[in-house]
Symmetry: C2
Subunit: 466 residues, 2 copies
């Protein structure tokens, strides 16, 4: 431990209790990685605040000592967002994990950032409510807001940014602000809610979130439809969307991934390109929607369609979908997974998925394609041996080809995972001169570049390394 | 005309054609007011660009001459947004009024900022599509994006910010950027779409908008339900929302306003507190939704309910609602209208509307209450004689009481009209320390404070007066 670190630990222990400050190697290692393939780097110190005031004091100290700050939820990020490449202090929000208030009449909930989405949904169930954003991993809501997470239900309910009514944010200088209010809409002032959601800890740390929730739908119906080709499946989705059928979930799983799912989840689903779908609504409306959907998928050479009415079968289906990433990881011991995350205009989706599958085959890397195709967002799940430089190079090249394909068609390099360190190199290509605006905003709000430095935007200046 | 103005006119005529630059008194007067009661102030020069490049050149010239810039659509703003209190150049976008591209497969449309919403809807109709945001006035889409407009359909389809996929923006220094892309969602970079929407010309001028559109719903049903009291009507809305019925429009019109509507629109609707509702969906689903709605309104002592199935009757109903502001204006010749615009959490709505009605009566000012109650947003339409200082003072006091009531309940001073000059005084109370963040953003993007100065935020520095 350097003298600088020692003096900072001393200072932190003056404002927090001893057990809220750790320099333990194992603890630091837990905060030196996420769920991605990105290289590890350890924080010098990990702190565990219990309040916004704690966070404010930590921020002020970081300014005094000119030390970087990285906020940390559960480490489920996929692009190295929480890895502290400049070391410094990691703020772990696990001690701020309370559901503070459920305002059922307003369909709002107030939570601390360390609450996970399943924890929230368990609480909400008692009120007949649910939180809609579902990224697969049981991430914290603070982390989900920081990356503008989304997932299977976004096609109907929107992404994380659409759910955030208000954030309590601690700024770089320790000031505590609120970015919104409890009204359903507002035209007052600049849209700080939207700016801070997706800012990945580079503009401030969230200490409280007020989120929109929904009534559990009266009726839910899930279906699996298998197709001759990925192309048919994707074209069917495009037709469903264009027909205005209010589908709640529509996920593509390619045949390779169906095999992997069957192996891992002990299902015996057909190993063909498949759409996992879900519909929410009233009984009569749902019935009519589903009849219409059936006509459409048949027009697109659907091979078979199966409905899951009861809760257990439906949960099994979505578990199989959610566990797909883990199915690959367990299926290829020793390998790491790279997940691409482009999102394209829906008219470009079929070709984009086809292109990704072709490239995956051409590189000879094991992996599959899955995606939230209702949004035009899909992932290539690519397995690679990190000790094999050739494989890693191939995976990186594949990722780049898929990203460039999307950007050339006015899509985005990341639909839901965020920039972190992995998509930093595409920011200038994707945003052009708008990146300068982002840099100006970062500089205005974090002039010493201490908040999760070199994520999203890379400024010249930065704090000292401990 | 001052020497400074003369030399600027010269310079503008070098970069634009002569007929794109006007110092005509009548033209300047047209650009010196909006639809509000706020005092007139004339621009020194009005310019009519035809391209982003024109706007970029104008911006650069404004920097050289240190002259304020105000963008202008059709002047339908309600808080003095487009009134150039610091004179300077007004950029009128009426020559940039083309629908550039309808991407029906992607449910997207690309337009210039001077296109109006009815103009867009006429074009979209040919494709079975419609644009959802409906603020009443036939505003330009550039203006609607600048104020984050919304209206009757926002309860289902969202506000203007929810529809904007990309903006082409000319910044203060003349740089042209794009704030988004064509993908349905993105976690790449800071959310510039959201930041620029609602920025009221204070951060840049919009020269192109890519907007989300929707398929015209298969079935539409409209209804009028009248109640014994405003309170019953509002409580019914709260119950409908909590039941999760996907209502597409739900508007409150109080008894005074129903009278005014009947006078103006030659209808003979019951002069009781009334909800105007609309439902969109498939036939079977709609039927079930409406049955459920009927049960709920009956629980809230609904006096009568009438359905309008056919297009003509439905249009008549919505015309009566949309023309209400004009109904008051025509009903009180010589008086000006002040429109309040608070939005509160839905659980506070009934009391807030009751409070506003009470205060309106207590002040003895003529007027009524209408509102997009599904969002918690309502307006007191207050008539006042601008030559009677006492009446004006009363109206201002009423507005302030209603705003403070909303802010004390974590609502907002403006749900959809925007800040302009009228809500500037409430920004510090509403946003607290977050206003400093807004000021930093403004300063970072418009360091000389030339873009619509003193709207939304008030900085120290500003350009020269011509």
């Amino acid at each position: 431990m350097t003298i600088a670190t020692e003096s900072l630990v001393e200072a932190l222990k003056e404002i927090l209790s001893d057990d809220q400050v750790s320099i333990n190697q194992a603890i630091r290692e837990l905060h030196g990685r996420d769920e991605s393939y990105h290289a590890m780097s350890l924080p010098s110190i990990v702190v565990f605040p219990t309040s916004a005031e704690d966070v404010s004091k930590i921020m002020k100290l970081a300014q005094t000592h000119q030390v970087p700050i990285v906020p940390f939820g559960l480490g489920t990020s996929l692009e190295g967002h929480v890895i502290p490449y400049d070391n410094g202090i990691t703020i772990d929000f696990s001690m701020m994990n309370k559901v503070l208030e459920i305002k059922a009449n307003d369909l709002l909930v107030k939570v601390q950032p360390g609450v996970t989405r399943t924890q929230l949904n368990q609480e909400l169930k008692k009120y007949g409510l649910f939180f809609s954003v579902d990224p697969g991993a049981d991430a914290t809501l603070g982390g989900m807001a920081a990356t503008n997470a989304s997932g299977t239900t976004s096609v109907k309910y929107g992404v994380m940014r659409d759910q955030v009514r208000d954030l309590e944010v601690v700024l770089a200088d320790g000031t505590i602000i609120h970015t919104g209010n409890l009204a359903a809409k507002s035209s007052s002032g600049y849209h700080l809610n939207g700016l801070f959601v997706g800012s990945e800890g580079t503009l401030g740390c969230f200490t409280e979130l007020t989120l929109r929730v929904y009534g559990i739908p009266e009726h839910v119906m899930a279906a699996r439809a298998s197709f001759l080709s990925i192309n048919d499946a994707v074209e069917a989705v495009v037709s469903i969307l264009q027909a205005g059928i209010p589908i709640a979930r529509v996920e593509l799983v390619d045949e390779v991934s169906m095999k992997q799912a069957n192996l891992h989840s002990e299902t015996n689903y057909k190993e063909e390109p498949t759409l996992f779908m879900e519909f929410h609504g009233n009984e009569a409306g749902l019935k009519q929607d589903i009849e219409f959907m059936k006509e459409i998928v048949e027009d697109h050479h659907c091979q078979s369609i199966a409905f899951e009415k009861d809760n257990a079968a439906r949960n099994k289906l979505w578990d199989a979908r959610h566990n797909l990433a883990y199915a690959y990881i367990h299926g290829y011991p020793g390998k790491k997974m790279m997940v691409t995350d482009v999102c394209v205009p829906i008219s470009e989706l079929a070709n984009a998925v086809h292109y990704a599958r072709q490239q995956l085959d051409a590189f000879g890397l094991p992996g599959g394609i899955v995606g939230h195709v209702g949004d035009g967002n899909f992932h290539a799940l690519v397995m690679m041996d990190m000790d094999n430089p050739e494989e890693v190079a191939k995976a990186n090249q594949l990722n780049e080809l898929i990203v460039m394909y999307a950007l050339e068609r006015d899509g985005t390099c990341t639909g839901e995972h965020g920039v972190g360190i992995g998509k930093l190199k595409y920011q200038a290509i994707e945003h052009g001169a708008a990146l300068l605006v982002m840099e100006k905003i970062k500089l205005a709000l974090d002039p010493n570049n201490l908040l999760n430095p070199n994520k999203i935007v890379k400024l010249e200046e930065q704090g000292v390394n401990l």
